[in-house]
Amino acid sequence: MAGVADRRAAAAARHRLLPEGRVAGPMPWIIAIMMFLTVLAAAAGLGLGAAVRSMSADLAGRATVQIVEANVEARDALGRRAAQALRGADGVAGVRPVDPATLVDQLRPWLGEEASSGDLPIPALIDVTLTPGGADAKVERLRRLMAGLSPKIRVEPHAAFLLPLAGLLSALGWLAAGIVLLMALATGAVVVLAARGAHDSHRGTIEVLHLMGATDVQTARLFQRRIALDAMLGSLLGFVVAACVILLLGGRLIATGSDLLGAVRLPWSGWAVLAALPLGGVLLAMLAARWTVLRSLGRLL
């Protein structure tokens, strides 16, 4: 117990060497703002990344077979033959002919009542779910299979429809990653400036410590600790506010009921990454402070 008390007393004495001014200065608030933006950017990147992966997994394993035949009886007969052939094909996990009535309902907003009149030829559709892996090769095999049945049957992989969207989401994800990197650099720069400022304002104390035989590392530790505390406070504040914003936005996205927007979700692993950001921020701040102070002290004899 005496040892613990002594260590505490020693720590308190060390901490008194630099006047305490936490939260009063701008540092914690600047770091809080930067951490808030960093966490949001990281959450966007992780959410979009998850959406792209989910979309890619879904789309890569699915295709639509279209039977483009104006004659209704011929179309229905061709549809049945195509479905039968697909069910027996390798690499096909599921075959689901789309109900023509459902198709008409989906087209009605664009085509009006004409869609259900029967005068307008609407292709028959069959949703095909492929077994995992090698989607491109399987789609190609299905194309050859369907071409053997009729030239009026087309096989369209879903990935082809939404490839540009997936590309956009992926680009946005990389942009978010870039923003996180820039924010980390900016945070480091802010800490360097703050450490320089603190070093300049405590130059007298530092020189006295230096001339008493304090090593550079001993002096740097004083600044490291102080800046780590500021960074910890700022990082936690920024993280908590950002987490609230993410939860609110997540609720709004789910409320849209959109499959596409619903795919933008943050997995638990994503939350773990976000939670690591404040720790990373504190570590970055400590290293930047240490580097700055050691560099400044290096100019003294």
């Binding site: 001339l211 008493m212 004899l301």
Partner: protein
């Protein structure tokens, strides 16, 4: 880090911390015990130049022996403070060799200098007390820098506070002290870790004659315990107070006597 760390290479082994035996009256009443040991400071043709100006110090050569008491005097601008800065390792010379405790500190790697600085106590001309620390914490600073256990800090600091007559001002901030009190805090801070060399730059410049005399008695008492004392001062009567002290006089950056320290005993040690 324990007290043992206070004793770097060259620290006198087994020398007890004996702050209580440094009271001025006791020190002056005691029979003088000056044991002059081998040279612990050697300057050889040292020159110091700031920027492109002419040399502030030129061809300075002298030796200080362990246990000696030295005054450094000279007109304002003669280079006293610059010489002391070289001595307490705040500055590197532009040329020449400086040996401290037998090692050439000019070429010594920078990382080894803190160990040497811990063996030198400095009383700055402007005190340089840390304004946001209490008197107690200011005096404790060298011990904490040296890594002394916190439980061991209190006794010597309290004793030192009493020694300089500030026992009841431990929690005061330096700004609330008079010039003389600040001076005494600076002296207490300089000597608390029992340095082998005590360097004082105009230590009596801010105090009245009575206090100056008392401070000099304190330095003398410390010197009797084996600390080499170097005091820069203009005050000739004060120099006369310390029997057996030696004087170095600087004139325009050069030692007035090129052979080194001049013996300047206004009264011989025995006739004090």
């Amino acid at each position: 880090m324990r007290l043992a760390r206070l004793r770097g290479p060259g620290f006198t082994a087994g020398r007890p911390l004996c702050h209580g035996c440094m009271s001025g009256a006791e020190g002056s009443a005691r029979a003088p015990v000056f044991t002059i040991m081998s040279a612990i400071v050697q300057f050889e043709n040292v020159g110091l130049r700031y920027g492109l100006d002419s040399e502030t110090l030129s061809d300075v050569s002298f030796s200080l022996h362990g246990g000696g008491f030295y005054f450094l005097t000279g007109a304002s601008g003669a280079g006293k403070t610059s010489l002391l800065k070289l001595l307490y390792l705040a500055q590197r010379p532009s040329r020449g060799v400086i040996r401290l405790f037998g090692e050439d500190v000019v070429t010594l790697p920078r990382k080894r200098l803190p160990g040497f600085r811990r063996r030198i106590g400095v009383v700055f001309q402007d005190f340089r007390l840390v304004p946001h620390l209490s008197v107690y914490d200011n005096i404790a600073l060298p011990l904490r820098v040296a890594g002394m256990e916190e439980a061991e800090v209190d006794a010597p600091v309290s004793e030192m506070l009493n020694w300089v007559g500030l026992g009841d001002r431990g929690q005061a901030r330096p700004a609330t002290l008079s010039g003389g009190e600040q001076q005494r805090v600076a002296i207490a801070r300089a000597v608390i870790a029992r340095p082998e060399i005590l360097v004082a730059d105009e230590p009596t410049g801010n105090v009245d004659a009575d206090m100056a005399s008392r401070l000099m008695t304190l330095f003398e008492a410390l010197n009797r315990l084996g600390t080499t004392v170097v005091v820069a001062t203009h005050d000739l009567p004060l120099m006369g107070q310390v029997t057996g002290a030696q004087m170095m006089r600087l004139d325009k950056g050069r030692l007035a006597d090129p052979t080194g320290a001049l013996r300047y005993p206004p009264r011989s040690r025995g006739s004090a």
